[in-house]
Amino acid sequence: MTGADRHASDAFDPAGTVARARQAAADAGSLEALGELRGVLLGKRGELVRAQRALGGVAPEERRRLGEQINSARAEVEEVLAARQGQLRAEERARRLAEERLDLTEVVDVPRRGRVHVVERTRRQLEDVFVGMGFAVVEGPEVEDDWHNFEALNMPIAHPARGMWDTLYLELGPPESVVLRTHTSPVQIRLMQRERPPVYAVMPGRCYRRDTPDARHIPIFHQIEGLVVDKGISFSDLAGTIETFTGAYFGTDIHSRLRPSFFPFTEPSAEYEITCTICRGAGCRTCSQTGWIELGGCGMVDPAVFAAVGVDPEEWTGFAFGFGIDRCAQMRHQLPDMRVLLENDVRVLEQL
């Protein structure tokens, strides 16, 4: 080694410069401090700049080697600073975001969507099942004349079967000539007056009876009836339709059965029961241990009803069925007392 070499080496120590820079960068606790450090290390008074300036005094053969050393040291220092800067930025972002932390359960006044009434939603579900089976949905008036509500349904004046319905009469027309409909069956009559068969329709709506309210009966209630009139329709079709509907609405493990009953407007008539939806048929208090609960009535349309609306019972046959929408809602939601439906307590409306 020459003496000149030694002098130059004493003046600039690349490894030391980089090591000191690395230490200083690590010590810089903020982007601001790091910026200042950059100025010190790479600025005019920095070692690297000074060493650069000192190059002029170095022997040409040394200058090239020393210049390369300075350049590579600068590159290394810049890399150290950039790395530290990235680190500090990440830390700062983390700190800033941490400060913005929210407890997402602190929501004040949750915006509330109201509820469509449970009876209406039940009605929609029932309608949709029947629409899927090819039925139309038909409606009619709640105030009916005696003819539509009783007489056309094979119940002439003072027919004992009228006693099956406790009827509310209105002060319109002659006494007992206008009623609040006791069932949606008059809609069947209006439909057949209006349209010729084939008919596949369900008729939902509000009905009225002069009943003292109890846990299972309310004087104002909702019913859905079905009417099918076509060529070749038999009791088989009735039983099959009831079974298909039952499975589709209540679930495939719920079945139906028909038992003889009496309605003036159907012959043969049946009561239909479904597997108890509480115990799924095992037997419980709701179904009196029988595994079955009564849902509604049905039967083949009586020829007298066809006669009232001018449909030839030799050409066409049909069946009808009906049951309570509120009762379905009660079963599905296990409402102990139907009367809550009339109270409009928002605590009930909101949860159902």
């Binding site: 469509v116 009434h117 899927g132 004349d145 104002i220 009791f235 605590r347």
Partner: protein
């Protein structure tokens, strides 16, 4: 109807466990609503002889006794006083469990130990009697220690509570239930013939007379006279069966009559012949206003009130030979000829009354009895003779005058019905042969004879008045074939199932209203008198003629009263901040001409019912403006355009519309003079009258005629409009507008002036206060302009701005706010 199994077995040897029998009855349509086992719990009750009776010190209601039940003396304490030493009484020993589950324990009363209980008939469920201990006949028989059931000749029994449908009068008696059950169980059914009683010395015609003046009301009337009658207690087994069937034993004559009715379905009526004026009967239609005092002591007025069209007011009366009314035929006898302890001669009536006549009279008088229920459904006119003989047989030992009086008019007989085998199978979806059909019908009393061409000539017995037509016979075939054995098939209609456009949109309306934070309510369609007036309506609606309660006697004309009541009910439960909506019918009172038309032609609806949607907003900050906002949101969601909120009262055609609303905060929803609804705020006085505090929270109200709105209101075009790809420009314009000018009108003017380039216009600020002339407010609109084919230039925008400002100035005298 309560039917003891032992009684059924008098007619048919049905076997099997109780649950299976109940299931079989169910499947026949004789629905078993309850099963009660009786006599269970009496197994340990024995006959005991009373040996000693002694007072207990300090007790004046109970006594100590010693009884002997065959195995030594037993000390008991008893509260009854109707027995003496030597009497035979029933003893329930310690450990016995009586009917009803009452377990006998060893008890100590007033220091005396009781090792059992002496029982009353009611405690043993033998009868309703609870006057004292059951005392069994004289001393010595039966021997102490004999089981009570054996001593009384009774067996444990099962009582079915059967619900008999109104079309099955034949099954409204034990024999009828037995007939159906026997057929289903495939065991023989037989009605034992009661013997014709030995003829007494005097012919019946010498003792009484019967005249039937109106034989359409009474097609058959049979009378017999019983002499040498001693009215006393019925035999124990008769009393027990009556009790099991739910009837109270009265006396031997009345019990026999009731027994026959329960067993064979034929009501009869016994008269004390010596109290019948003239000693004979006359059956005729009552004269309007005629009166009779019935057995229950009430005076009844006949033929006085029509029960509807087709009612001829002819109530059938039973009169004595002097033409004085003594009973209402088929419903209730009169008090004056009632059987009493002193009755010696009984005139027995067994008749067939016209079912419709009994039904009408029963309804007119609001008087239903066991007899009327049977007559109005139709008894068996040919079952009368058997019933009379059976009744006489029950009154063992009574003398009977020779012969019977039998007045016959137009009595319905057995009915021939032609039944087509093909029709049976077509209607039921079965493949039954003629023989199979006959095999199902014959066991229930139908005669079946095959005829030509697959037709069966069926003869319907007189006890089946419900079965008149081919289809009625087919029901009997189905019932006895078994509904569950009919195969199931689901029809596949050719039509597409659907809800119609209105029904679909109505669902959408509900969803929109729920989306506005309102819960759907279901308020009553029936209101209390005066509810409408309280809600500001000028009068009440259609009234119910026979309301169950006065609170539900008026049909609503608006949803408002019911909804306010619902708000008040919630407020009363500390739920004041509520938004509710409802969709339902309202009932404007119809003109008489409309009602007459509807009743005559059976086409039109009697009432022009309207389906309304109503919203009540009572959340904090809610008011008329919130309700109006709800309307605009709903209109936008349903694509309704051009229906405006109009405050001018003259724009409202319906007189009652807007009733109950704040006069300065209400509007009508109108398009081209058609009114679709009202919007606003409920009048504070109305709120107060429903118990709602107007100071606590205003109530916004919106009520729409949904049918009219969805059916006829103009809608936005369904056709797609292109969205421009060029930048749009916004223009904010604030006008100083007189208070009388609705913002909607200014908005409409701007929309027209903006023309095709106006993409949308929005009211974004309203200012009232300093800096504005009195009687005005500032309305700030943001207009967004855009062209489909170029970016709007400054000059164009300048021109548009000028046009809009000029139009508003010209139309409303409003200037830009300086």
């Amino acid at each position: 109807m309560r039917v003891p199994l032992s009684w059924i077995r008098d007619f048919a040897p049905v076997e099997g466990d109780v649950a299976t029998l109940a299931g079989t009855l169910d499947d026949l349509g004789l629905v078993v609503e309850g099963v009660r086992r009786v006599g269970e719990g009496l197994e340990r009750v024995v006959v005991a002889r009373v040996e000693e009776i002694a007072a207990i010190a300090g007790a004046d209601r109970i006594r100590a006794g010693v009884v002997d039940a065959g195995d030594g003396p037993v000390e008991v304490v008893c509260g009854a006083w109707n027995f003496a030493v030597g009497d035979l009484v029933p003893l329930a020993p310690v450990g016995a469990v009586l009917p009803g589950g009452f377990e006998i324990g060893r008890r100590k009363m007033k220091g005396v130990v009781s090792n059992g209980m002496l029982c009353s008939p009611r405690e043993l469920e033998l009868s309703e009697d609870h006057e004292g201990i059951l005392v069994l006949g004289g001393a010595g028989t039966p021997a102490p220690g004999t089981p009570l059931m054996a001593a009384l000749g009774l067996e444990p029994d099962v009582v079915f509570d059967v619900a008999v449908e109104t079309n099955r009068p034949d099954a409204a008696c034990v024999a009828g239930v037995a007939r159906d059950l026997a057929a289903a169980c495939k065991v023989p059914f037989g009605l034992p013939e009661a013997p014709e009683p030995p003829a007494g010395p005097v012919p019946v015609t010498e003792l009484t007379t019967v005249v039937v003046a109106d034989d359409d009301l009474c097609p058959r009337f049979v009378a017999r006279v019983l002499t040498g009658v001693t009215v006393g207690e019925s035999p124990a087994w008769v009393q027990r069966r009556l009790t099991l069937a739910g009837m109270r034993p009265v006396n031997s004559v009345v019990d026999a009559s009731n027994y026959v009715m329960l067993e064979l379905g034929q009501p009869t009526h016994p008269y004390d012949l010596d109290r019948v004026g003239g000693g004979g009967l006359r059956v005729r239609a009552a004269r309007p206003g005629e009166r009779v005092v019935t057995l229950d002591g009430k005076e009844r007025v006949l033929g006085a009130r029509s029960i509807g069209a087709g009612d001829d007011l002819r109530d059938c009366l039973i009169c004595d030979a002097t033409d004085t009314a003594i009973g209402i035929a088929g419903i209730m006898g009169g008090a004056s000829t009632e059987i009493s302890a002193g009755t010696r001669r009984v005139l027995l009536e067994a008749a067939y009354f016209s079912p419709m006549a009994v039904a009408r009279t029963s309804k007119r008088l609001a008087l239903r009895t066991e007899a009327s229920a049977r007559f109005e459904r139709g008894c068996d006119p040919e079952g009368i003779d058997r019933s009379v003989r059976r009744l006489v047989e029950l009154l063992a030992g009574v003398e009977v005058a020779a012969g019977q009086i039998d007045v016959r008019g137009p009595v319905p007989g057995p009915r021939p019905v032609a039944v087509r085998t093909a029709r049976v199978n077509a209607l039921l979806g079965t493949a039954l042969s003629e023989a199979e059909i006959a095999g199902l019908l014959e066991p229930i009393g139908f005669a079946v004879r095959p005829s030509a061409g697959g037709v069966l000539d069926v003869t319907v017995p007189t006890f089946r008045p419900d079965t008149e037509r081919e289809v009625d016979v087919i029901e009997e075939v189905a019932r006895h074939h078994g509904y569950s054995r009919i195969a199931r098939r689901t029809p596949r209609p050719a039509q597409v199932g659907e809800i119609d456009a209105y029904q679909r949109e109505r669902r959408q309306v509900r969803d929109v209203l729920a989306g506005l934070g309102a819960d759907e309510a279901w308020t009553a369609s029936l209101l209390a008198p005066g509810d409408h007036e309280r809600a500001g309506w000028p009068a009440d609606g259609i009234r119910v003629a026979n309301p169950l309660v006065p609170d539900q006697s008026v049909l609503r004309m608006s949803i408002l009263p019911g909804m306010l009541a619902a708000l008040a009910a919630n407020a009363g439960r500390r739920q004041g901040e509520v938004r509710l909506f409802e969709v339902g019918h309202v009932f404007p009172p119809p003109e008489k001409a409309r009602v007459d038309r509807a009743l005559a032609a059976h086409q039109e609806w009697v009432v022009d019912e309207r389906e309304m949607a109503a919203v009540a907003l009572r959340a904090p900050g809610d008011d008329a403006m919130a309700a109006s906002g709800a309307w605009y949101a709903l209109a936008d969601a349903m694509g309704i355009t051009g229906v405006e909120v109009v405050a001018d009262a003259e724009a409202a055609p319906a007189p009652a519309a807007g009733a109950g609303l704040h006069p300065a905060r209400r509007g009508w929803l109108v398009h081209e003079e058609v009114q679709f609804g009202v919007v606003g705020e409920v009048d504070p006085d109305v709120l107060e009258s429903f118990g709602l505090d107007p100071g606590a929270q205003r109530v916004g109200w919106l009520e729409l005629d949904l049918g009219l709105l969805l059916g006829t209101a103009p809608r936005r075009s369904e056709l797609a409009e292109a969205a421009s790809r060029f930048p749009s420009s916004d223009l904010d314009l604030a006008f100083v507008v007189a208070e009388e000018v609705p913002a909607a009108a200014v908005r409409a003017t701007l929309a027209a002036a903006g023309g095709g380039l106006l993409e949308r216009v929005r009211l974004f600020d309203v200012y009232r206060g300093p800096g504005l002339p009195p009687g005005t407010r500032s309305l700030a609109f943001r207009l967004r302009f855009c062209a489909l084919d170029h970016t709007l230039e400054e000059a164009e925008l300048h021109e548009l701005r000028a046009r809009c400002v000029a139009a508003v100035g010209a139309a409303h005298g409003a200037e830009l706010r300086g």
